[in-house]
Amino acid sequence: MNPYVLSILLMGLGLGTTVTFASSHWLLAWMGLEMNTLAILPLMAQHHHPRAVEAATKYFLIQSAAAATILFASSTNAWLSGQWDIQHITHPLPTVMITIALSLKLGLAPLHAWLPEVVQGLDLTTGLVLSTWQKLAPFALLLQISPEIPLLITSLGLISMLAGGWGGLNHTQLRKVLAYSSVAHLGWMMVVMQFSTSLTALALLMYVIMTTSAFLTFKLLKSTDMNSLAMSWAKTPSVTALAPMMLLSLGGLPPLSGFLPKWLIIQELTKQELGLVATVAALSALLSLFFYLRVCYCLTFTSSPNNLAGVAPWRLESKQISLPLATSTSLSILLLPISPAILSLTLPLF
C-alpha cells in the first residue's frame, strides 16, 4: 500500500483508540470507535481479494450496527438521566443495550458469529490488529461503565468461554482457531469484570501479548492452516521449539504466563462464593486447551524422525522483523515468576 495512505490509516487507528480512552462523553467515545472502524476497513481490503473484501464488508456492517446501538443507548441515557457522562449510566435499559452492543463489537458470545469469518478473510497482520488493538477501545468503555447486572455479565462470560472452546475444536484453519480463542479469552475477561476490573485488564494485557506472539509466529511460518505447520521444523527449528510453549500459554497452562490471569480470576471467583462458575470456567479452559494442543501437535510431533508430512520447503530468508516476535513470545512464556509485578501494572488502573 502507498506509505502515505498506510500512515494515515495507522494514525487514524491509533487516534481512534486514544480518543475513546480519553473520553468522558459518550459522543466522543462513539466517535473514537467509528474512527477505528473506518481506519481499519481499507487495511482489511488492501489486497482486493474477494474474500478480504467480504470480510471487510461484514466487519463494517457489524461494527456500524454496534456503534449505532451505542449511540442510541447513550441518547436514551441522556434522555432518561440528562447527562452524557460515561461513568454515570444509571438506568438498566441503556446499560443492557450498551453492554450488548459492546459485546457485539468485541465478539462475545452469543454475538461472536462474525469473528471467525472476518478473521479468516484477513491476512495475518490485519488479523493481529483486529484481534488485539480493536479490543482495547470497547473494553475501555466496558470497564468504565461496569454494569451492575451480574446475571448478564456472568452468562455472557460463561457462554463465551464454552462457545469459544467448543467452536474452535472443529477447525483446521489457524485464523479461525485464533478467533475462537479470542472469544474464549474475552469470556474470561467478562466473568471477573464485576468483581475486579484490574483483573480484567490484566487478562486483556496477557491476551494481547499472547495473541501477538501467535499471529507473528504464524506469519513467520507463513502458514494459515494446520497442515502447513507440519513442515515448520524445517524452516525455523527455534520457533518450532518455542511456539508450543506460547500456544500452551494461551491455553493457560502453568508454569507459563497464560496461567496468571486464569489463576487470579478463579481465585477471585472463589472468594466471591461463585464456585460453580469457577468450576465451569476451569473446565471450559480444557476445551480450548485441546485445540491449542492440536496445533502444538501439528508443529512438533510431525518433526523428524517421524514420517515427513510434506515436501521440504524452500528456506528463504525472512524479511520479518524478529524483535516483536521475540519479545512477545518471551513475555508470553516467562512472566509467571514475576506475577506480582505484572499485577501491579494493572492494579492502580481502576
Binding site: 461484514k58 454496534a66 452469543p110 454475538l111 458469529a113 471467525p116 467448543w166 467452536g167 475444536l169 476445551l287
Partner: protein, 612 residues
C-alpha cells in the same frame, strides 16, 4: 517337690524331644543319616509310645493332671501368649493311643511305600504331622492349638497330594485345603472374640471368665471350625476325596487323628458350651444329619477306601451328636476306640489293595477269605467293632452314646436319624465284608497273594488287639465325668443292638439278591442319590466357582472395562462433546443475517428479562 508332676511333665517333654529328633536329623547335610530314616522314625514313635505309657499310668493311678508353662512368647501390656501344655485326661489318654496307632501305621508304611523313591520324605511328613497333632492336643491356649491346627491342615494337603502327578490327587488336596480353610474362619472368629472380650487365649482364663458373657458367637465359630476339620455336613466332601492319598495317610490322618481334631477342639472347650442350648442343639442336629447322610452315601460306593472314608465321616457325625448331648467324655471315648478299628480297617484295605495289584473296586474283589485269611478276619473284627458288637472296642463308646441319646430329652429327630445311621453302618460294613472276602474271586490271578511279610501283619495284629480290648481297658480305668443314666426301658437299652441286627439282616437279604435277578431294572433314583453323594459335590463344586467367575467377569469386564472406563468415563467425554462442537461450529453459515439475528434476539431477550 511334687515328683509325680515332675515325672509327668518331663516324660511328656521327652516325647516331644524323641519325635522332633529325627526331623532335626534330616536337616543335617550328611546324607547317610537320611537313608535309614524310616527305621529311625518308626523307632522314635515306638519309643515315644512306651515313654507315654508312664504318664498314662501315673494318671490312672493318682489322677494327676498338669499344666506346664514353658516360655513367655509374646507378652504385651494387655495380652500374653505363652507356650503352655495341658496334660489332662484328654491329652494323657489320647497321646498313647495316637502313638500306638501311628507306630503300627509307620511299620505298615515301610511295606506299603517300599517302592516309592521319596519314602524318606513320606516318613518325615508323617512325623511332622504327628508332632503337629500332639501340639494341638496338648495345647493349653488357643494360639498353640491354632499352630497345631494349621500344621495338621498343611500336612494333610502335602500328604493327600503325595502322588501329585495325578490330577485327581491335586484336586483332592486343594479341596481339603479349601474346606479346612472355611472352617479356619470359624476358629479365627472364635479366637478374635476371645481376645477382645475375654482378653486371653489361655483356657483356664477362658473358662473362668466366660460365664458372664453370651458365648453364641465364638461357639458358632468353633462349631464352624469343627465342621471344616471334622467333615460335618456342609463341609464334608473333602474327606472322601482325601482318599486319593496313599493308604497310610488315610489311616493316620483321615481316620484316627486329624479329622478328630475338630471334635477334640469342641471337647476341650466344652465347659463353654454347657449353658448354651442353641449351640448344643446345633451340634446335635448337625451331627445327626452328617451321620445319616454319609452313611447313606456309603451304602452304594464301590471303592473300598471311600466306603471306609464315609464310615469315618459317619462316626465323626456321631461324635458331634455326643457333643450335642453335652457328653464330651463319651465323645472322647469314641475318638480313642474309633482310632483303633478305623486304622485297622484302613490297613487291611491297604493290604488287600496292594495284594490285588492296586485294585480298589470291591466289585473286582472276592473270595479273599481263602487267600488272605488273617487280613479278612481282621477286616471282619474291625467291622464288628465299628458296628458296636457287644464287648468289642466300639461297643463301649457307641452303645454308651446311643443310651445317652435315648435317655435324654433332646431332639427326637436327631435320635431317629442316629439310629438309622447305626443301621446303615451295619449294612455297609456287611457289604464290604461280603464283596471283599466272601464268594468267589472276581479278579485276574496275576500277583502272588500272601500274608508272609511281618511288617504288614504285625501292625494289623496290634491294632486288632486294640480293637478288641481298648474299649474295655479305657472304660475300666477311667470313670466318666458325667453320671450316665443307668435305668431305662428294655427296648431303649437294646435299641442300638436291635437296630444293628435289623441292618445286618437287611444287608444279608440284599447280599443274597446279588445272585438273583429280582427286578428287570433296579430302583435307580435312590441309588443315584446315594452313589453321587447326594449330588452335593456336583452342585457345590460347580455352582460356587461358576457364580464367582461370572461375577468376576461381570465386575472386571462389563462394569469396569466396558462401563466405567468406556461408556461413562473417557469415551463419554468425547461422545458428549462432539454434538456440542459440531453444533457450535455449524452455527456459522457465513451469512450476515445470522449475525444480526443473534444480535437482535439477544438484545430483545436481555431487555425483556432484565429490564421489564
Amino acid at each position: 517337690m511334687h515328683f509325680t508332676t515332675l515325672i509327668l511333665s518331663s516324660s511328656l517333654m521327652t516325647i516331644f524331644l524323641i519325635l522332633v529328633l529325627p526331623i532335626l536329623g534330616t536337616l543335617s547335610p550328611n546324607p547317610a543319616g537320611s537313608l535309614c530314616i524310616k527305621e529311625g522314625v518308626k523307632t522314635a514313635v515306638k519309643l515315644a509310645f512306651f515313654v507315654s505309657l508312664l504318664p498314662l499310668f501315673i494318671f490312672l493311678n493318682e489322677g494327676v493332671e498338669a499344666i506346664m508353662t514353658n516360655w513367655e512368647w509374646m507378652n504385651t501390656l494387655m495380652f500374653n501368649i505363652n507356650i503352655t501344655f495341658k496334660f489332662d485326661l484328654y491329652s494323657i489318654v489320647f497321646i498313647p493311643v495316637a502313638l500306638y496307632v501311628t507306630w503300627s501305621i509307620l511299620e505298615f508304611t515301610s511295606w506299603y511305600m517300599h517302592n516309592d523313591p521319596n519314602m524318606n520324605r513320606f516318613f518325615k511328613y508323617l512325623l511332622i504331622f504327628l508332632i503337629a497333632m500332639i501340639v494341638l492336643v496338648t495345647a493349653n491356649n488357643m494360639f498353640q492349638l491354632f499352630i497345631g491346627w494349621e500344621g495338621v491342615g498343611i500336612m494333610s494337603f502335602l500328604l493327600i497330594g503325595w502322588w501329585f502327578g495325578r490330577a485327581d490327587a491335586n484336586t483332592a488336596a486343594l479341596q481339603a485345603v479349601v474346606y479346612n480353610r472355611v472352617g479356619d474362619i470359624g476358629l479365627i472368629l472364635a479366637m478374635a472374640w476371645m481376645a477382645v472380650n475375654l482378653n486371653s487365649w489361655e483356657m483356664q482364663q477362658l473358662f473362668s471368665m466366660a460365664t458372664n458373657h453370651d458365648l453364641t458367637i465364638p461357639l458358632l465359630g468353633l462349631v464352624l471350625a469343627a465342621t471344616g476339620k471334622s467333615a460335618q455336613f456342609g463341609l464334608h466332601p473333602w474327606l472322601p476325596s482325601a482318599m486319593e492319598g496313599p493308604t497310610p495317610v488315610s489311616a493316620l490322618l483321615h481316620s484316627s487323628t486329624m479329622v478328630v481334631a475338630g471334635i477334640f477342639l469342641l471337647i476341650r472347650l466344652s465347659p463353654l458350651m454347657d449353658n448354651n442350648p442353641l449351640i448344643l442343639s446345633t451340634c446335635l442336629c448337625l451331627g445327626a444329619l452328617t451321620t445319616v447322610f454319609t452313611a447313606t452315601c456309603a451304602l452304594t460306593q464301590n471303592d473300598i477306601k471311600k466306603i471306609v472314608a464315609f464310615s469315618t465321616s459317619s462316626q465323626l457325625g456321631l461324635m458331634m451328636v455326643t457333643i450335642g448331648l453335652n457328653q464330651p467324655h463319651l465323645a472322647f471315648l469314641h475318638i480313642c476306640t474309633h482310632a483303633f478299628f478305623k486304622a485297622m480297617l484302613f490297613l487291611c484295605s491297604g493290604s488287600i489293595i496292594h495284594s490285588l495289584n492296586d485294585e480298589q473296586d470291591i466289585r473286582k474283589m472276592g473270595g479273599l477269605h481263602q487267600l488272605l485269611p488273617f487280613t479278612s478276619s481282621c477286616l471282619t473284627v474291625g467291622s464288628l467293632a465299628l458296628t458296636g458288637t457287644p464287648f468289642l472296642a466300639g461297643f463301649f463308646s457307641k452303645d454308651a452314646i446311643i443310651e445317652a441319646l435315648n435317655t435324654s430329652y433332646l431332639n427326637a429327630w436327631a435320635l431317629v436319624l442316629t439310629l438309622l445311621a447305626t443301621a446303615f453302618t451295619a449294612i455297609y460294613s456287611l457289604r464290604v465284608v461280603f464283596f471283599v472276602s466272601m464268594g468267589y474271586p472276581r479278579f485276574n490271578p496275576i500277583s502272588p497273594i500272601n500274608e508272609n511279610n511281618p511288617t504288614v501283619m504285625n501292625p494289623i495284629k496290634r491294632l486288632a488287639w486294640g480293637s478288641i480290648f481298648a474299649g474295655l481297658l479305657i472304660t475300666a480305668n477311667i470313670s466318666p465325668l458325667k453320671t450316665p443314666i443307668m435305668t431305662m426301658p428294655f427296648t431303649l437299652k437294646m435299641a442300638a443292638l436291635t437296630v444293628t441286627i435289623i441292618g445286618l439282616l437287611t444287608a444279608l437279604e440284599l447280599a443274597s439278591l446279588t445272585s438273583q435277578q429280582f427286578k428287570i431294572k433296579p430302583l435307580s433314583t435312590t441309588h443315584h442319590f446315594s452313589n453321587m453323594l447326594g449330588f452335593y459335590p456336583s452342585v457345590i463344586h460347580r455352582l460356587a466357582p461358576k457364580t464367582n467367575l461370572i461375577l468376576g467377569q461381570l465386575i472386571a469386564n462389563q462394569t469396569i472395562d466396558q462401563t466405567w472406563l468406556e461408556k461413562t468415563g473417557p469415551k463419554m467425554v468425547a461422545s458428549a462433546n462432539l454434538p456440542l462442537i459440531s453444533s457450535t461450529s455449524n452455527l456459522q453459515q457465513g451469512v450476515i443475517k445470522t449475525y444480526f439475528l443473534m444480535f437482535f434476539f439477544t438484545m430483545i431477550l436481555t431487555i425483556l428479562i432484565l429490564v421489564v
